[in-house]
């Protein structure tokens, strides 16, 4: 998708979340809720988190680096959406 349009939209908050939900649901072939703790449910380990890093970089045209490479940023769709919004503001 076009990242610039995506970032300028009024409802970008919902759109970040819905993009991530769509990506994860497709990848995991199951419905994921925004607040769901993906660690607790055994869905994410460090290998999968790295996969998500690249997915997020590609979808949202951001760079996830340094301190942001933290498992906590991938704990839930809400956490990932927060990361995306923060990086988009950079």
């Amino acid at each position: 998708m076009n990242s610039e349009n995506y970032l300028q939209g009024d409802s970008s908050e919902d759109r970040a979340t819905s993009e991530l939900l769509a990506m994860l649901s497709k990848r995991l072939k199951t419905t994921v809720r925004p607040e769901q703790d993906l660690f607790a449910d055994g869905m994410i380990n460090s290998m999968f988190a790295l996969e998500l890093v690249v997915q997020i970089e590609n979808i949202f045209n951001v760079a996830v680096e340094g301190r942001d490479l933290d498992m906590a940023n991938f704990r839930s769709v809400n956490a990932m959406a927060n990361l995306v919004r923060r990086l988009a503001e950079k």
Binding site: M43, S46, M47, F48, L50, E51, V53, V54, N58, D70
Partner: protein, 370 residues
């Protein structure tokens, strides 16, 4: 794959440099340091470092084919290369601009580096790491120990992972720093000349600027990233082991005669040769797959690296055992090529994620896919 001219040239350089000395190095558990510095000065111990900082700038696929070639000649040197390459990769990933400009040209001009992850109480479970890095003004103190650091006996500096403040960090420690003690392991099962050592850090003082990226980082993702590089490197090295075994086994089968005909006409030997070929080809295909994925930056590169490492190490262990059977008494002395391959490949099933750890990662991946 079509070898680029440069790759072919570098492979010939390696053949001349190593010659027939690998068995002797294995027996002595030591590689002459000028050999390693020669390779390092050409940037060949970290071939993926970009040309802008003095590296050869190979992509993963070409670096992989070179790694396999080096591994077919001497797994100990290939092991040093894996460690040095991981050090360079950690700097590429974690360092800031100034640190990259400072360290990477050193790593491509003959200085040797190693990476310390494992501790006596933190092997597969690196969350148990106890080495501490503490900052005070412009300085930092490193306390702790690392075990089985590949290449450490030859290294000028080691990249040490440890705990810092509320996270983890990697710090560049010159081996010559007061308080650093290197205890060489000279009786390793395999890759005996790879300079494995345990390193002890007792109140070691370094500039705080040696902390890569200058800040605390989160350990799991950083280590997984560094290990992905190491896994692809080890996997290609195992392809090299299999190619060396194939060359040796086919040559022996052609010339050695028993019961009035060459070994290659005996069906049970043919089966070994066929199996060896299948093991080499299947490992090489997965390595190529992982490297292409690395070069394209696809999301599942890390798991493809695990898959390549898992299959290549297992295939090398099985294939080298077959090569020993084919060579029989002609390859059964301590540092003979296939005897080395047999010992070296077993070690490859242990490092950079043991076969069992790789199985856990692959099982979780399978669970996420289906």
């Amino acid at each position: 794959m079509t070898f680029s001219k440069e790759l072919a040239e570098q492979c010939s350089f390696v053949d001349v440099l190593i010659g027939d000395q690998a068995s002797e190095w294995d027996a002595q558990a030591k590689i002459p340091s000028d050999i390693l510095r020669h390779l390092g000065a050409r940037g060949l111990l970290c071939p993926q470092v970009p040309a802008s900082v003095g590296g050869p700038g190979f992509d993963s696929l070409h670096a992989g084919e070179f790694t396999a070639h080096l591994g077919s000649r001497c797994s100990s040197i290939r092991s040093v290369m894996t460690s040095h390459g991981m050090a360079a990769w950690c700097i590429q990933k974690l360092a800031d601009h100034d640190q990259r400009e400072l360290y990477l040209p050193e790593l491509t001009s003959g200085k040797l580096a190693a990476v310390g992850f494992t501790e006596s109480g933190a092997g597969s479970d690196l969350s148990e790491m106890t080495t501490r890095i503490s900052r005070h003004g412009k300085g930092a103190t490193v306390d702790g120990h690392k075990v089985w650091v590949t290449g450490a006996s030859y290294a000028d500096f080691v990249i040490v992972f440890g705990r810092i403040e509320n996270g983890a960090a990697a710090v560049v420690v010159p081996i010559s720093s007061p308080g650093v003690r290197v205890e060489a392991i000279t009786d390793a099962l395999g890759c005996r000349a790879a300079g494995h050592a345990n390193i002890y850090f007792d109140n070691v003082q370094v500039p705080a600027d040696n902390i890569l990226g200058h800040e605390a980082q989160s350990l799991p993702l950083i280590i997984t990233t560094a290990l992905s590089y190491g896994r692809i490197s080890v996997a290609w090295g195992c392809v090299g082991i299999l190619r060396a075994c194939l060359a040796q086994a086919t040559s022996h089968a052609r010339t050695r005669r028993q019961f009035g005909k060459p070994l290659e006409q005996h069906q049970l030997i043919k089966r070994y040769l066929a199996e060896l070929f299948v093991l080499e080809q299947s490992a090489a295909q997965l390595c190529e797959h992982a490297s292409r994925s690395w070069d394209a930056g696809t999301p599942d590169t890390a798991i493809k690296a695990v898959l390549a490492k898992q299959v290549s190490a297992r295939n090398a262990a099985q294939g080298s055992a077959m090569a020993v059977q084919v060579l029989a008494s002609a390859g059964a002395r301590g540092s003979d090529l296939v005897a080395r391959a047999y010992r070296d490949s077993k070690l490859m099933e242990i490092i950079e994620g043991s076969t069992e750890i790789c199985q856990l990662l692959l099982a979780d991946h399978a669970m996420s896919l289906y």
